[in-house]
């Protein structure tokens, strides 16, 4: 199997400041790490490789220092890495990022599966996974908490939902995003760290991946951040058990108690 993992380098803390004029993140002086959700994605890819054989490629788009995130990915088990880095990519929103990633992935060669974290802890949009899948024209499944089996061109997995989970069957190649319930990521290996230390990451530019210049960077980004606000908290919820009759009786009682009926 060739498994590609989407990795994003993010600031190491929730203490990041926001530039109120541009509504973008101020990243200066904040240490960077691999997006924690991507650690689960990488671990799952490495486990699949250990089980089925093959290779794991970690890919990221970012400034030259994003190579550090890729080196960390190697220490955690990735076989090879792709760094998309070019001034022309700067200012990309999720759409332009997904386009660049999809072009980079095409250049990286045929693949069976792409895994990403469910979202990044800085932007929290959860958009790059599905958008990349769409641009590659492959199926997408979000919130995978368990891969039950991979057989030939078929994968069966569990998708975490608010209440319980769905069992999903999909064809390969596809792109999945994973939640933290999927595994317990390993610590780096010494051999991996030694390999990472000597690794020279040569970035691929927009030209290298044959990207259309109107679709990358700020130019290719239709998103405008109009306002940032926390979502309204969800109300109290309760799931009733028992037979239908018992549930109806319980609902009736609760509604009456609130003087709603």
């Amino acid at each position: 199997m060739h498994i590609i993992v989407l990795v994003k380098q993010v600031p190491d803390t929730a203490e990041v400041k926001i530039n109120r004029e541009t509504n973008t993140l101020v990243r200066d002086g904040v240490p960077s790490i691999i997006n924690p959700y991507d650690r689960y994605a990488l671990e799952e890819a490495v486990r699949l490789r250990e089980k089925h054989g093959g290779t794991v490629t970690a890919i990221t788009m970012g400034p030259p220092q994003a190579a550090e995130a890729l080196k960390e990915a190697v220490s955690l088990g990735a076989d090879s890495v792709v760094l998309l880095s070019d001034r022309a990519f700067a200012g990309a929103d999720t759409w332009a990022t997904s386009y660049a990633l999809s072009m980079g992935i095409r250049k990286a060669g045929p693949f069976d599966l792409i895994i990403a974290g469910k979202q990044a802890i800085d932007g929290d949009t959860a958009q790059v996974g599905p958008e990349t899948a769409d641009m590659l024209g492959i199926p997408f499944v979000a919130y995978i908490r368990k891969i039950e089996k991979v057989e030939g061109k078929l994968m069966v997995a569990e998708r975490l939902m608010d209440e319980g989970y769905d069992v999903v069957e999909t064809t390969l190649p596809c792109l999945i995003t994973v939640v933290k319930e999927i595994n317990d990521p390993r610590v780096p290996s010494l051999k991996g760290k030694m390999k990472a230390k000597g690794l020279q990451v040569k970035p691929w530019t927009a030209k290298d991946i044959g990207a259309d210049e109107s679709k990358i960077g700020l130019k290719g980004s239709p998103t405008q951040v109009v306002r940032i606000f926390p979502p309204a908290p969800r109300g109290q919820r309760e799931i009733l058990g028992g037979t239908i009759e018992e549930q109806v009786a319980a609902v009736t009682k609760k509604l009456k108690a609130q003087s709603l009926i």
């Binding site: 390993r186 610590v187 780096p188 010494l190 030694m194």
Partner: protein, 385 residues
Amino acid sequence: MDYFLTEEQLMIRDLARQIAQEKIVPVRQELDEHNRFPHEIIKAMAQADLLGIYIPEEYGGLGKGSLDFYIAIEEISKACLGVSTTYAANALGSYPLLLFGSSEQKKKYLPDIAAGRKLVAFGLTEANAGSDASGIQTTARLEGSEYVVNGTKQWITNGGEADVYTIIAITDRAKGPRGASAFVVEKGTPGFTFGKKENKMGIRASCTTELIFNDCRIPKENLIAKQGMGFIVAMKTLDSSRAGVGAQGVGVAQGAIDEAIKFAKQRIQFGQPVTSFQAVQHMLADMQTMTEAARSLVYAVARMIDGGAKDISRPSAMAKLFATDTAMKVTTDAVQVMGGSGYMKEYPVEKMMRDAKILQIYEGTNQIQRNVIGLDMIKEATRAK
């Protein structure tokens, strides 16, 4: 203190520290209370390549030296001596193969050991053969192409959990010390079973059992080195591992100091943190000075071994003796610094104190270490005359 460790040694230290913090510290109390073997932790350590540090690269290890290995032992010991005993005993069990194994034996066993697919145990001690290894009763009788092993080994670390056992048995009692031989026995061999699991004072995450051999037939090829070399194999194995027990002592001592100072800084008595009292400062100063001296000795011996020194009996005995006596004193003092809290299971130092005691006992009691050192001194003085 700066020991001028190499970049790779620092890498090993940081990685072992990460495993200790992320995988060991959160569960060490539970492992201790329930006498539970740390399967998940050993798996994580294997994935991180820590089980192959001292095994040559040609057998899938990292091909590093004693110092590299001791650095890992020290970090793991800071967090839990039970886990570190499992880890260190694995090396102890593999030394006979590493030092004396044939190339076929090395090829057969070392890659699995380096990758952590197979754990190892060393079987020397018996009910009547502890400090006095000549009291061994277990026998191995050559019958055609097989050895038939009979007897019981006692207090064997990793017993039952290990897949590979290196043991010492008597092949010819008439020959005295030259009548013992070393063998490798695999778990699952008919006639090889495990006795009771010991209920220990400390290092309770490690597993200690009897090994029972009842007409256990092993192929002749399982003999390590030559027939009659059993005691040499055992002694050289212990020479190689002893300073590693010293590294365990340094680790648990440092772990206890770190806990004690953290606690003492925020413990208020008479309106001020207890660290403001000279009585406490002096205790902490002595604890750290002793531990640093122990670390210096352990590292110096490790560098001596890695430098190819031939006779390491005395230095490794000194490293083991000093570092483990230090560990006992420092962990006891850590409990004292923390007072009533130190005595409670909410804090890890009472466990560290219970755990530390074994270091003065196993792999040669500290009295035996003094014998080794003293006799070697007398031998040297006699030679000099």
